[in-house]
Point group: C2
Amino acid sequence: MKYEEAKDKFISTWGSLGSLWGINKAMAQIQALLFISTKPLSMEDIMDELKISRGNTSMNLRQLMDWGIVTKELIPGERKEFFTTEKDVQELTRIIAKERSRREIQPVIKVLNDVSSIKDDGTEKTKELIKQTKALHDLTLNADSMLNKLVTQKQNWLTKSIIKLLK
Amino acid sequence: MKYEEAKDKFISTWGSLGSLWGINKAMAQIQALLFISTKPLSMEDIMDELKISRGNTSMNLRQLMDWGIVTKELIPGERKEFFTTEKDVQELTRIIAKERSRREIQPVIKVLNDVSSIKDDGTEKTKELIKQTKALHDLTLNADSMLNKLVTQKQNWLTKSIIKLLK
DNA sequence: ATAAACTTTCAATAATTATTGAAAGTTTAA
DNA sequence: TTAAACTTTCAATAATTATTGAAAGTTTAT
C-alpha cells in the first residue's frame, strides 16, 4: 500500500467512524486530515483534499475549534488562516470524552435522577420504574466515570497488556 | 411527578439517548418500555404505548432480538407473541458493548493496523502517518478493552465511590 | 383444508441531517 | 478609503435515515 492510498483509507475510515464518537463525517475527516499532516493546513487545502465545499469546511472547522480539538495557527506573511489539531491521542480523547459527557451524559443522569426519585405509591409498576431507573442511573454514572478514567490515565499500560495478550 | 409522567419522561429521554449507544429512537424506546414493564408486552401493547406503526415495531423488535437484548416469551393460552428485555443493566451493557465492539471497533482496528503497517519510505509525511495511525490503533484497542472492562466487572464499586464523591 | 389471528416485508413517504454556493461580512495592505 | 483576499452565514438542496401501512406470509384452531 502506497502513501496516498493509506492516507485516503485512513481518512475515510476515521470519517465513517465519526458516528461512534458522535461527530459527523466531514468533521471527523477534517480532524483526520489535520491529524496526519506534518504542517498546518488552510481552508483551501482542506477543501481540495477532502472535496468538500467552503461553507462545509468553515462550519466544521468552527465546531472543531469549539470543541477545542483544532486551533487556528497564524503563519507570518500569510493572509490565510491555518489550522492544526491536537496531536496527542490521549489528550484528544480526553477532550472528546469531556465534551460528550457534558453534552449528553449529564442531562441523562439528571433525568434518571428525577425519575428515580418519584414518590413510591406502593404499586408494582412504580416500584419497578424506580428500581430500574436507579439501576440505569448508577450505570450511567459508572460509564461516565470510566470514560473519564480511560482518558485521564497517563500511561497506556493497558495497551501494552492487550498487545501482549493478542500476540 | 406522577408515575405516567415519570414513565414518559424516562422513555423519551432514553430514546433520544439512543444515538449515544448507536441505536435508533424507536429501538431505544421499545427497550426502555420493556425495561420498566413488570410483565411481557405484546406488539400491540408496544404500538399503543409508543404510538408507532406495526411495521416499525416489528422491525425494531427483530433487531433487538438479533442483538440478544430482547427475547420472545410465549404465554400459555395466548396466540400473540410477548416480549421481555434483559433486566440486569450490567448484563445489558455487556451485550451492547460486545455488539458495538464487533460491528464498529474491530473493523477500525483492522484498518488502522493496515495503514500503520505501510512501508516507511523515509519521507516525513509517511513517518507521520505511521506514527499517528499507530497511536490511534493503540488508543482504539485501549478504548475497546475499557469498554469490555466496564462491562464485565461484577460489582459497581465505582458507582459507590462516585456517589460518595458527589454527596 | 380453511379462515382467523397474528407477524413480516418492503416500496412509498416523511423526517432528519449534511452539504452546497453565493451573498454578506471581515480583515489587511497600500 | 478602497479593493482584494479571505471567512462566515444561511436558505436552498441533496443525501441519509426512519417510519408507515398495506399486501404477503405464517401459524393455529377447528
